[in-house]
Amino acid sequence: MAGGGTIDPMHQFTVEPLFGRLMIGGYDLSFTNSALWMVITLVALWAFMLGGMKGQMIPGRWQAAVEGFTGFVTNMVDANIGPEGRRFVPLVFSLFMFILLANVLGLLPLGVVPGVHPFTSTSHFTVTGVLAILSFGTVLAVGFAKHKLHFFSLFVPHGTPKIMIPLMFVIELLSFMVRPFSLALRLFVAMTAGHILLKVLAGFVINASNAGIGYGILVGGPSFILMIGISALELLVCAIQAYVFALLTSLYLNDAVNLH
């Protein structure tokens, strides 16, 4: 097939400084496109919350939307941690809303403007890793502050025979230490995989159209329709991944607060 270009699905994830390199003490602290999109997420979230905090007795649509999200997170934390979980609602809510908005903002159709493309800040393991460390660090801090060294009884389930305790302890400890890694990895790969798939399909559409009208309709048409379907699925995955992150954070906090 003449005129086919190679499809590069990974270029969309490159992090590059926007205003020149800024080195401080040997560390690269440039303001990158990743940082820009995280700032955009923060501003969008701030504006969303401000719009819903007017405190009207009969909520308008915006306030109802904000109350919908806060009610959802409060119910989830309540169901998973219990009455002591109320003080974790701000943390879980912040994590949930930040991840949801960061995921969704990466799917904006800004590509219609030539040269502009959105960037999913959560598509990098560094960013999701920090979010996971926030979550896991809180679990450790709460667990040790509340139970001191009795926290280690979390790794020995009720009723294990004495002879199996050393083995069970090691296995449970390993499973516990994998948690932040799995939180970060799940979110990062879900976002990256979706965007790679969309880019590959888009490459099919472009290459097929360049190869003539016949290939354009035969290959490009179904690929384009598939892109529409996958974009809808990606929006769903954004929401599900944000929910799963918040849900698992609540569950891990339940482990730390209530031990068994």
């Binding site: 990974m10 169901a79 799995s182 990895l185 995989a193 929910y243 799963v244 849900l247 569950l251």
Partner: protein, 75 residues
């Protein structure tokens, strides 16, 4: 065998694991639906566990995808 060819073959084999994850995720939702249609009243209370099970099954499939990507782009 040429190392580059071996890497790409390995990446293709790793992608089979992603297909197996699809079976796993389908299993989770299938069992949930089966139970939910037998006892609709109890279904809403268990939705949380549904998504936990989905996340766990999906994660293992995504691990296979990560290995595939590592073979193609990193190793």
């Amino acid at each position: 065998m040429d190392p580059q060819a071996a890497k790409l073959l390995g990446a293709g084999l790793a992608a089979i694991g992603v297909g197996l994850a699809a079976l796993g995720v389908g299993n989770v939702f299938a069992k949930f639906l089966e139970g939910a249609l037998r006892n609709p009243g109890a279904a809403d209370g268990q939705q949380g566990r549904l998504f936990i099970g989905f996340a766990a099954a999906e994660l293992l499939g995504l691990l296979a995808f990560v290995i595939s990507m590592v073979l193609v782009f990193v190793a």
